[in-house]
């Protein structure tokens, strides 16, 4: 069964001066897949994500995101969603204002935005929060809203940068269920996390180290290959191995 690729990366290299941040990355991500992107701080994850989001150009190599290469960043941006723990929604705007703003930026009309907003709030049981300022909402609710807004315009891919950092265990599970549901609708989810147990939620996981991809497979295949009981153990094995030889 040939699966549809939404991200194709071949020999991607990104240099900053003489520093090689991404060293010949090659991988594909499929439609509707939950793709985990792991690595130590400074491994080159952020650099790669910035290129995939059309915010930065590769030094060399091929990148295709939603069918467009790195020379068409505006086309890429239209087809993706993005959410990070640090910045997601405007605290001094209401929930509805934030949704309108993001919908507008992605070229949706008010005619499309309004009914969708109602549906979104109803689905999350957040009807009572429509006119509430984001800043006054509890962190868990804010986090779920931020995700819903990131996929509001039905992107082909959504990039989540440490989306669950610091949230309580109940919210974390509700959040992952939203991710499952999104992926089941055919939206590809590209996620980074420092919670190694969360890597186990992903369909496939890649581990970066010193600018290179050192492992890429399903969590169970990786555990088996490296004879590790968990992704955390595997991660520590791989990363430690590298620093010792360095």
């Amino acid at each position: 069964m040939e699966r549809e690729k939404v991200i194709e990366v071949k020999d991607l290299v990104k240099k900053f001066g003489s520093f090689v941040a991404n060293d010949h990355l090659t991988f594909d991500v499929y439609k509707g897949e939950i793709f985990g992107f792991l690595g130590a701080n400074g491994a080159g994850k952020t650099t790669a994500i910035r290129i995939l989001c059309g915010l930065s150009r590769p030094t060399s190599g091929k990148v295709l995101v939603a069918g467009f290469d790195a020379n068409h960043p505006e086309e890429i941006k239209k087809r993706i969603g993005y959410m990070s723990q640090r910045f997601s929604l405007y605290n001094d705007l209401t929930v509805k204002d934030n949704i309108e703003l993001y919908g507008g930026i992605y070229g949706m009309t008010m005619k499309e935005i309004r009914p969708r907003t109602e549906r979104l709030l109803a689905k999350l049981s957040f009807n009572q929060y429509g006119d509430t300022l984001i800043g006054s909402l509890p962190p868990g609710i804010k986090q779920k809203l931020a995700f819903a807004v990131a996929v509001f315009h039905d992107p082909e891919i959504v990039f989540l940068d440490e989306p669950t950092s610091g949230v309580d265990p109940i919210t974390r599970r509700q959040f992952w269920e939203m991710i499952y549901e999104t992926a089941s609708r055919g939206i590809t989810v590209f996620v980074t996390t420092h919670y190694m147990d969360e890597a186990e939620y992903c369909d496939r996981v890649t581990i970066m180290n010193e600018g290179m991809i050192v492992a890429l497979d399903t969590p169970s295949a990786l555990r088996e290959k490296y004879n590790a009981s968990s992704i955390e153990e595997l991660f520590l094995k791989i990363a430690r191995q590298k620093t010792e030889t360095a």
Partner: protein, 317 residues
């Protein structure tokens, strides 16, 4: 003497109750962890402990000294690492350390042995300004600065948040080393897996302590047998498990008159469930097969800290 004694600590910010009648004791020399999400009240509690804020109610002592009345003596005994990086970004690594040493009337040389295992990892960069350090190096510098006056107690507010798993492991190894030096350590973290590295932990949520015990005893306190169910399509598995007993009498999990929830919770590659009295695990597999999920597996597992946290949170609600 206990290192920390907290009696009925309450703290309000206007109408918001950040801490609600919190009491606990930390023994001398103990590595004690506060585990809880953002907004649980960890930072407020730590600020009270380090004498930076006065609680709305209750009382706390460190080594018998009251955090409100004896704050001057206490500050010499405490090494504090706030959650937000608070060193001088435009001073170098070395300048920051010397500054902290001077403030506490000591020198880098005098207590070098204490910080050596940590500091020597960043010493090659001692001329670099703190603002230009990586996350892991900032964390090591902050810990060195908190230790420079040889405190009796270290109070570390989320030192590992946002730090990768390798640096986190190294950090906890450093803490074990300091514990062997006899320093009491109180640390907070949102990462449940780090709880296992503490002597005792307090689970904290919405300003209340849900439980205090050793990590092992916390795990044993889970009230039921816990099972992990696995199936390739995890979303389908989760939604199916949730609806199994509620479907029109498909299977013998529970009589339809009293719907029983299996409390399915996604946990990485599996879904954790509890079973009603008298239900065999195989019956779940049979029911899943009927629901169109053939070949699922089920195994009994030891509850983790996060399973217990979830159970306690639900009880509290």
């Amino acid at each position: 003497m206990a290192a920390v004694e907290a009696y009925n600590i309450t703290h309000r910010y206007g109408k918001v109750t950040a801490l609600d009648d919190v009491s606990f004791t930390v023994d001398d020399g103990e590595l004690f962890g506060f585990i809880g999400p953002d907004g649980a009240g960890k930072t407020t509690l730590f600020r009270i402990a380090v004498t930076l804020i006065i609680p709305s109610g209750g009382r706390m002592t460190l080594f018998g000294l009251n955090t409100v009345n004896n704050y001057r003596e206490l500050r010499n005994l405490i090494g504090y690492m706030p959650g937000k990086f608070s060193l001088y970004q435009d001073l170098s690594v070395e300048e920051n350390l010397n500054f902290y040493a001077t403030v506490f009337g000591t020198t880098l040389k005098e207590n070098y042995h204490l910080i050596e295992p940590i500091y020597k990892q960043i010493e090659p960069y001692k001329k670099r300004i703190a603002g230009k350090l990586s996350g892991g190096m900032k964390q090591k510098l902050a810990l060195s600065c908190a230790l420079i006056h040889k405190p009796k107690i270290l109070i570390l507010d989320e030192p590992t948040t946002g730090v990768d798993a390798v640096s986190r492991t190294e950090f906890w190894e450093m803490l074990s080393g300091l514990k062997h030096e006899g320093i009491t350590i109180v640390v907070s973290t949102p990462y449940m897996d780090e709880a296992l590295r503490c002597d005792r932990i307090a689970l904290i949520q919405s300003g209340k302590i849900l439980g205090i015990n050793t990590p092992d005893n916390i795990r044993r306190s889970y009230s039921q047998k816990l099972y992990a169910v696995r199936y390739p399509d995890k979303y389908k598995l989760l939604t199916s498990l949730r609806s199994l007993p509620l479907a029109p009498c498909p299977m013998p999990i529970a009589p339809c008159s009293e719907p029983y929830t299996l409390s399915p919770e996604p946990f990485g590659d599996s879904v954790h469930i509890t079973l009603p009295e008298g239900t065999k695990p195989e019956e779940i597999l049979k029911a899943l097969e009927t629901a169109g999920l053939p070949g699922a597996t089920i195994t009994e597992i030891v509850p983790g800290i996060e399973d217990v946290f979830l159970e306690l949170m639900k009880k509290d609600e």
